[in-house]
Amino acid sequence: MKRIAFPAAFVAALVLTALAAPLLDLPDPIRQDIANRLAGAMAGSPLGRDEFGRDVLARLIWGARASLGVAFASAALACLVGVTLGLIGGWMRGLGEILTLRLVDIVLCFPPILLALLVVTLLGPGAGTLILVLAVLYAPGFARLTYGEVLSVRATDYVEAVRALGASTPRILTRTVLPNIAGPILVQFSLAVAAAVVVESGLSFLGLGVVPPTPSWGLMIRGGRTTMAQAPLLLLWPCLALTLTILAMNLLCDALRDAVDPRARAGGGRRRIVDRVLPGLFPAPRPAAPGLSISHLSVEIDTPKGTIRPVDDVSLSVASGETLAVVGESGSGKTLTALATMGLLDPSVRVVAGQVLFEGRDLLTLDERDLRALRGKRIAMIFQDPMTALNPVMRVGDQIVEAIRAHSAAGARAATDRALELFRRVGIADPEKRLRVYPHEMSGGMRQRAMIAMALANNPVLLVADEPTTALDATVQAQILDLLADLRRDTGAALIFITHSLAVVAEIADQVVVMYAGQIVESGPVAAVFATPRHPYTAALLAASPDSNDPSAGIPGTVPALHALPPGCRFAPRCAHATDACATPPVLEVLEDGRESRCVRRREIFG
């Protein structure tokens, strides 16, 4: 908000001053007084006199009136015409679209000053001509913007809903479409005003804009040029006024644009080195087998609503040849945990506690160079959406080859051969051809296979797969899961599989960790956990799963927001078994058989 306030105040003050010009007690800006030409500051003229003896300050203020008047008038006219055209083109499509948009495109092709000069040639200079010319120049911008916004709003479900309700077109346009595009149009208006001030002053400078004796900043600069040697200040005052005005307007435009299209920025701050806080009072991490072991990892983000911990004291481990599933719904912290292990967190996310032990070293303390040596070679990651995870402007084969050559001394030929072999291994038909295509030319399933191939390129000992099948069709998902299971068996790698689907977990994993609101609530071997869950959340998830036998109606309530967590057990508000004992934060306890649970009432509930 602060960003808008200052420029807006400046512009508002300027506009008010300009509007009030006739009321202020100013000397006549037009009356010449040759005797006092080029005088410095004197009584009644704090900024001196110009080359004709006219008062500079008065001319500045009246010049503001002329420039701003032309600018606002032309922007308003352009807005009216342009938005109407854009609405017609965007809503009606068909013939209306052609007429409005293609005609508008032609105007956009003209370099603006040339169009202005053309019209001035025919109509002669003057404020009226200027307003017309500027309106014609900027209307296409409004039309194009409105057209684009209408098209995208049109495709939204809420507009379709209103259509389905039977609303008439005028009603839809005025109540639903226009309010939702008003923001960008406002931004465009401020841009048009700023641009109009620039063009008007340029034309006046050339002597082809506002006609003397009406003052205008451009005209003042034109006059000031001739007396540059004797009176440089005369030149500087209008330059300063013009620059400050345009600067304020530009800042206002930018601030408006940001306000209209906000992007969540989770607090500033670079990543700090890990604080080695005391790991806590709990048992040591699981015995180190070759594999990965995360202990007491915590991660924080600063948000406008406070600092949150999307990963809170998470410990898990996976041995080689084993598959560990990390299950949770959105907001459980499972993806962030995975990213943290590879040091791929966004800079705004801080690791505040914990260790990630891999091959005898704590990954969180390694510097970037050492981490890079591991990434893609010993630990590889498969991401959720292969369409965005692959570089759209690079051939797929090149991206695989790149991964290979980053970690080995293989030459281009050898690397290509290996890529071919990998493609065959993951079941991509016609691998020679497929190496040369771009990601958008592949189907979803094939892209994911390519991603898997890329992850396997250097025979990693640990694979981290972040919801690799969520974005795929059911039948393709089945193929990919099968492929992953095969590969894991063949290579003996450890696999961490992140998902929200319990059924997938049942199919592919040996061990499972269940996360809720940033914490682990239960863990253990898959078969045991699914047969006899030891946390109400796990039990409820199992029951709510689409192919469970119990047709219950899901889990009531919603996952708590991380900045407004309940004081005790985070699941208590939604738990059918909650009692007063749940008001104290429960601790993750290790059970006799190596399983873990965070429910204090588990014995009463589950026996």
């Binding site: 639903t176 998902q477 689907s501 059924a503 049942a506 199919e507 592919i508 078969a527 689409p546 919603t558």
Partner: protein, 323 residues
């Protein structure tokens, strides 16, 4: 008694329409039939490119088919007069997939729910607030929530609001277009339960579009399976689930990972789904079907009846071993 909603031989293609649109036309639907009786729930299942969402919109009259007939309560939907069109809009409504895009971010939810009431003048302005409160209660939300804006609600709550909005005009027919796909598992079951309850209480006919067979099973009386714009199989839900006849239905059922461990039968499909703009000749599924023969490329197989109300479009039905 005739069905409430009847579609016959409906085809719909997209693209290549505008003078400047150079994309190749894509056939979303090819000669699809669909019937829904009063109070009946039909599940329409398919993967991406199957045309299921398009079918829903054609049934509602929001999209005009390139071929075929669409009838609602006996009267044709296409070419309806403006008055008839408005009357139709009261009787059929839609619930969308995306809880975050289906509500206007600029207006309070109570106002949006009341849209239908205002447009069709169902209750006088003074009584609208009470009706909105009633609708909110029907979907399990407290009445004071009507004053809030959409961004203040979670995904599941927004879906409830969307349902309330759809019910405002008192429709006989509701199209639910993947209403739970974008929600967390625990919320999915809540919403499905709500829809089942509303259906029972209000006697709604429903078309439930989904890619997840298991969700459909809970809610629907009948099921229709689409692939690349054609019907592969249709029939009573229980039958289709217990003894799926068409190879595609079987693959779909087998593909769903199960809670009780790895899949029993390995019925993996070969290859990737073909592109909707250049489908295979004859049976559109043949390129991925384990049982395909030359016969399958020759002609589009017709829907054949296997038992009462259960049909499938495959020439090899007899030869495929039962599960």
């Amino acid at each position: 008694m005739s069905a409430l909603v009847e579609l016959e031989g409906v085809s719909k293609s997209f693209g290549g329409e505008g003078w400047f649109d150079r994309t190749k036309p894509v056939q979303a639907l090819r000669g699809v039939d669909m019937r829904i009786a009063r109070g009946e729930a039909l599940g329409v299942v398919g993967e991406s490119g199957s045309g299921k969402s398009t079918l829903g919109r054609v049934a509602l009259g929001l999209l005009e088919p390139n071929a075929g007939q669409v009838r609602f309560d006996g009267a044709s939907v296409g070419g309806a007069s403006p008055a008839h069109w408005r009357a139709l809009r009261r009787r059929m409504q839609i619930v969308f997939q995306d809880p975050f895009g289906s509500l206007d971010p600029r207006r309070r939810v109570g106002v949006q729910i009341a849209d239908g009431l205002a447009i069709h003048d169902i209750v006088p302005a003074a009584a609208r607030a009470a009706k909105v409160a009633e609708l909110l209660g029907l979907v399990g939300l407290p009445p004071e929530h009507g004053d809030r804006f959409p961004h203040e609600f979670s995904g599941g709550q927004r879906q409830r609001i969307g349902i309330a909005r759809a019910l405002a005009t008192g429709p006989d027919f509701l199209v639910a277009d993947e209403p739970v796909s974008a929600l967390d598992v625990s919320i999915q079951a809540q919403i499905v339960g709500l829809l089942a309850k509303l259906r029972a209480e209000l006697g709604l006919a429903m078309m439930f579009v989904s890619h997840d067979l298991r969700v459909v099973r809970r809610l629907c009386d009948r099921v229709q399976v689409l692939y690349l714009g054609r019907t592969m199989e249709e029939g009573p839900a229980a039958r289709v689930f217990e003894s799926p006849a068409h190879p595609y239905t079987r693959a779909l059922l087998a593909a769903a990972p199960r809670l009780d461990g790895p899949r029993r039968a390995k019925l993996l499909l070969r290859g990737d789904p073909p592109s909707p703009s250049s489908p295979p000749s004859g049976c559109v599924f043949r390129t991925r079907c384990a049982h395909a023969t030359a016969e399958c490329a020759a002609a589009v197989p017709a829907l054949r009846e296997i038992s009462a109300g259960h049909k499938a479009a495959c020439v090899h039905l007899e030869r495929i071993p039962p599960l």
